[in-house]
Structures are given as structure tokens and as C-alpha cells.
């Protein structure tokens, strides 16, 4: 380690070393923005979300009804064949109760991300979204949920046109 090595390199720099100017550094703030084209499959997906509908895409070879929709089947490696309207209800496959933002700042109200299998799509076909109108402690795998949509006039053709999914009584 090996046993033949006594001293390993690597200098542990401490926060105060930077604060006190003992270690010098340079700072840079990149300023860029990106515009991502939605593409063919997701373009239609977003357009349907604006109408308050979830749409999937079927491959006739493997018979999978897929969501998010795609123009080619990555299993069969051939074009998918038809559009299929799905329901806006589903089942929680897994979830988390998240108390921190990406930069590790704690939040008061936890977010509840989940993978939700969408009714009408093939088994295991889920999308990532958020859960709402539910006590964090009451969420469970297998819970039935329904989409809560933005009012039609506020929808913009985005995944956020669904505000969250709430428990289905």
C-alpha cells in the first residue's frame, strides 16, 4: 500500500485557509443558456399535455405501449407504429420524500418525487413526477394516483402542465 509506502501525497485544504487568503484561487461564473428542441415524439407529448392528455406510443413488434413516447423502439430498434392515448391515473412504483434542494439547502415542505406507472401503458412504464395533496407519511408503493392539471389557460405544453399527482380515493 501499500505496505511499502509510508507517506501519501494530497494536501487537505481547509476552508479557513481560503478565507484567510493562505491559499489562492480564481472564481468564474459561466453565463450560458440553452434551448432544447422537443423533437418529434416529445413534441407531440407536450402538445397533448397542453390539452390535458397523456399520450404514449406503441411498438407492434414487442407490443409495448411506451411513455414517455418515442419514435423508435430501443428494444426492437425499429420505428414505433401508433399513438395511444393513456389515462391520467397511475400507480406509484417508488417514491422519495426529499428535504433538500440540489445544493443541499433544507426546505420546510418536502418534495415527494415518484415514479408513476401510467394506466394504459405497459407494465412498468413509468414517468417521473411529483406527488401532492398527501401527507408524506401516507405515501406508499402501489398507491393509486391521479394527475392534477393546471387550468387550461395556464398550460404551456410542458411536463409542468401536470402540477402533481394526488391520491385517487
Amino acid at each position: 500500500m501499500s505496505v511499502h509506502i509510508n507517506e501519501f501525497p494530497g494536501i487537505y485544504a481547509k476552508e479557513e485557509d481560503f478565507a484567510e487568503g493562505k491559499i489562492l484561487y480564481t472564481v468564474w461564473y459561466p453565463k450560458l443558456h440553452y434551448a432544447w428542441d422537443a423533437g418529434v415524439a416529445i413534441g407531440r407529448y407536450l402538445a397533448e399535455l397542453k390539452e390535458g392528455r397523456i399520450i404514449g406510443r406503441k411498438c407492434r413488434k414487442c407490443r409495448r405501449i411506451m411513455v414517455p413516447p418515442r419514435m423508435f423502439c430501443e428494444h426492437c430498434f425499429r420505428p414505433t407504429d401508433e399513438w395511444v392515448y393513456l389515462k391520467d391515473t397511475g400507480t406509484v412504483l417508488t417514491f422519495s420524500i426529499c428535504y433538500v434542494t440540489w445544493d443541499m439547502v433544507r426546505v420546510k415542505e418536502p418534495q415527494i418525487p415518484a415514479v408513476i406507472q401510467i394506466d394504459g401503458a405497459s407494465k412498468g412504464m413509468g414517468i417521473m413526477h411529483l406527488l401532492g395533496e398527501v401527507e408524506p407519511g401516507k405515501v406508499h408503493v402501489g398507491m393509486r394516483v391521479k394527475a392534477v392539471w393546471k387550468p387550461p389557460e395556464e398550460r404551456e405544453g410542458a411536463i409542468t402542465d401536470i402540477l402533481y399527482f394526488k391520491p385517487l380515493e
Partner: protein
């Protein structure tokens, strides 16, 4: 196909923030690896670099930036990057450079400096989520781990206390590692369960730390290896596999791609009964449940049973008397030594190298292990990379 051996290894300390630049870290590890086998850069035919996203450093084409520290200047040189799987994949890439017969020697260097990225290097990972269907929801990297961990727990009815022992074992093991960031001989399962909840079921002590560090190894074809050392450690099998990027369409409770990578490596190594023929293992452990998940994917534990195996001490470094004893992460793993992404994976390979040569010092696994496996994992929870080493 020429046999390929690891003949030397070196590493820096893994620290939260290193004073050294990325290049300086790479140089420290690379020069130590060469020195350990009494070779110089002149003896090296080609160089492979592993390093995670450019966004950590905000340096375009980090491989070119790091090339002089990695000893690559004026040599055939390539960088690989498969997310967290990089550190083990770099060895695979080095292996096929030499196994092809084109090169006799290869220097493999993995470096990561995560601390430059502020306020938190997680920011560099946000772009793994789909920009149109996922990122508008404001995800953070912890989500996918939390969602996967919960899927695993739910599938087999596991509790947090069944999983927390992995952190305890690894941090205790790391207390004997001279480069470790978080070694702790006294940590308990209760400490893990009491730690801050980040994204349930993930708590603070379920997670490995952000780190800076570098590791390097030297590969040589058999005729060179035998000249350089009397203790070559052979690469007996390699495997890698990738699952779909539609991660919400997969069963998250089992890493199929790790099994595929393992089967490829076992086949190449002629291993029929992995649980008997693998003596030590370094599975990828950025989170405690991941070590268990991967032991199952590697076919070294039954599905859903790795937690109880861990609890009875089957994976402890020194429980020789335990039935089917298999020391796992004897180094202390990412949870204990630290997790400078690409360097952490290569650290696991280096640990198997030192263990098989009987040079792991206080961490030495008893019983003269003859064969070991290192594995890493990454991207959108979808890539598995495996290397099997033997003496």
C-alpha cells in the same frame, strides 16, 4: 490474446478539498504508480485517463487539460467516461490496449476534483435528467438514488437498519486506510439511523462524501510483467453492460446490467461458481444500499438477501469463520475512503491489487486471497463495469 497484469499502483489521499490542482493530483498518483514498479514514463507505451464530467472543473476536454499530469504528452492517449463506472472501465480500456497486442504497457490514471464546483458539485449532475420531461420538475441527484433505494427496500421488505450496517462496516474498514477521508472505528448502526434525512430513505450517513483525489495503475503484457515484478496480478476477466436511459421504465430493484457485466467477466475468467471462486470483492458503494444491490447483481448474494448476509458478518473483513465468508469493500469503499468519482472506482481495483499481493497492511484480508473482483456503476443507474483479478 496476450495476458495482461497490473504491476504497479499509486494513489493520493482522498480529501474534501485538495490544495493541489487536478493536474498535480494526477501527477502524484501516476508517478507513484510508476515508482512502485520501478518503471519510468519511457517504459509506458500508451495512457488511458478516466475522469467524470467536464462540468466539475468547467474545463473543456478535461482529458487534454490533464494530459501532462497523466504522463500522456506525446503518447497514444484516450479518455473514457461512463459516469460512476469510469474508474473500473478505465482499467478495461487499458486492458484492451495491451490485450490487443498493439502495446506492451499502459498507464491508467483516474482523477477527480469535485471541490471546484460551487456551491455544490451536484449541480454538475443535474443535466443527467431529461431536459424536457424531467428537469422542469426541479430534480436533484439524490432523487434517483432515493427512488432506487426505496424500490429495492419495497421489493424485499427491507428496513433502513438492515442496510445501514454497510456504512458501519466500510467506515470501520476505512479507519485502516492511510488515504481515507471518513474512517471511523467507532461508528454504529444507530449513528447512521440518527443522521439527517436528506431524501427519504436516504440519510446523511447512507451517502459517500464529495472528494478530491487521484489513483493510477500500470498495466503490462505478460513478457514485460514477469520482468518487472515477481508478483504480477493478472486481469482474468472484464465485463461491461448498459441498460436503457429510460430509467423510469425499468425495474429499479435489481441491477440487470451489473449481472450482464459480471456474467461476461466470469465467462472470460472461466468462473463457474462465483461465490466459491471470488475471495474478495470491491463492489461500488456510493450509497450503502448500492453495495448490497451490486453484490446481488454480481451473483455473490441471493436477491434481497445481501442485507441479512451483511448483518451476520458475511462481508466483514475478518469474519473468516462465517459461512460463505466474502470480505466486501475491505478498503473502506467510497463510503469510508471517499468518492472522487473516477478515482474511487480505480481505488477499488488498486485495493484488490494490494490485497492479492498481501500488501494491504492493516487492511489485509486473512487467508491469502487468490482472486478478487472490483465493480463500478454509474450514469442514470444503468452502467455496470467489472474487472476480475487473480494471482
Amino acid at each position: 490474446m496476450p495476458r495482461v497484469a497490473i504491476v504497479g499502483a499509486g494513489m493520493t489521499k482522498f480529501v474534501r478539498r485538495a490544495q493541489e490542482t487536478a493536474k498535480e493530483l494526477a501527477w502524484e498518483a501516476a508517478s507513484m504508480a510508476l515508482e512502485s514498479c520501478e518503471m519510468t514514463l519511457d517504459d509506458i507505451d500508451c495512457v488511458v485517463l478516466g475522469s467524470a464530467p467536464d462540468a466539475f472543473d468547467a474545463v473543456h476536454m478535461k482529458s487534454e487539460y490533464l494530459s501532462d499530469g497523466a504522463g500522456a504528452w506525446g503518447k497514444p492517449y484516450i479518455r473514457c467516461y461512463v459516469g460512476g463506472g469510469t474508474g473500473v472501465f478505465a482499467v478495461i480500456q487499458g486492458w484492451y490496449h495491451v490485450a490487443s497486442g498493439v502495446f506492451d504497457t499502459c498507464l491508467v490514471v483516474c482523477e477527480e476534483k469535485m471541490s471546484s464546483c460551487m456551491p455544490h458539485p451536484q449541480g454538475a449532475f443535474l443535466t443527467i435528467f431529461d431536459h424536457t420531461t424531467e428537469r422542469p420538475l426541479g430534480p436533484n441527484l439524490l432523487w434517483i438514488f432515493a427512488l432506487e433505494m426505496n424500490a429495492y427496500m419495497n421489493r424485499y421488505g427491507l428496513r433502513k437498519e438492515d442496510i445501514a450496517y454497510v456504512t458501519v462496516k466500510n467506515r470501520r474498514n476505512a479507519a485502516d486506510h492511510p488515504c481515507a477521508l471518513l474512517g471511523d472505528p467507532n461508528i454504529t448502526v444507530q449513528d447512521v439511523l440518527n443522521s439527517e434525512v436528506l431524501a427519504w430513505p436516504v440519510q446523511r450517513l447512507d451517502v459517500s462524501p464529495i472528494s478530491d483525489g487521484a489513483v493510477a495503475i500500470v498495466l503490462a503484457a505478460e513478457h514485460v510483467a514477469r520482468r518487472v515484478t515477481n508478483k504480477p496480478v493478472w486481469i482474468e476477466g472484464v465485463g461491461w453492460a448498459l441498460d436503457t436511459a429510460y430509467w423510469t421504465n425499468r425495474d429499479l430493484s435489481y441491477p440487470v446490467y451489473v449481472e450482464e457485466a459480471a456474467r461476461m467477466a466470469y465467462k472470460m475468467a472461466g468462473i463457474k461458481e462465483p461465490r466459491k471462486e471470488i475471495h474478495i470483492v470491491e463492489p461500488y458503494d456510493p450509497f450503502d444500499y448500492k453495495e448490497l444491490h451490486h453484490l446481488e447483481g454480481l451473483l455473490l448474494a441471493d436477491r434481497g438477501k445481501a442485507p441479512e448476509d451483511a448483518a451476520r458478518g458475511r462481508f466483514d473483513r475478518d469474519k473468516e469463520s462465517e459461512p460463505d465468508w466474502l470480505p466486501s469493500s475491505p478498503s473502506g469503499g467510497l463510503l469510508g475512503v471517499g468518492n472522487p468519482i473516477a478515482a474511487a472506482g480505480l481505488m477499488k481495483v488498486a485495493e484488490i491489487f494490494w490485497q492479492l499481493r498481501g500488501e494491504a497492511g492493516k487492511r489485509q484480508v486473512p487467508g491469502n486471497p487468490k482472486r478478487g473482483l472490483a465493480q463500478a456503476w454509474g450514469d442514470l443507474m444503468q452502467v455496470g463495469t467489472v474487472v476480475i483479478l487473480g494471482i
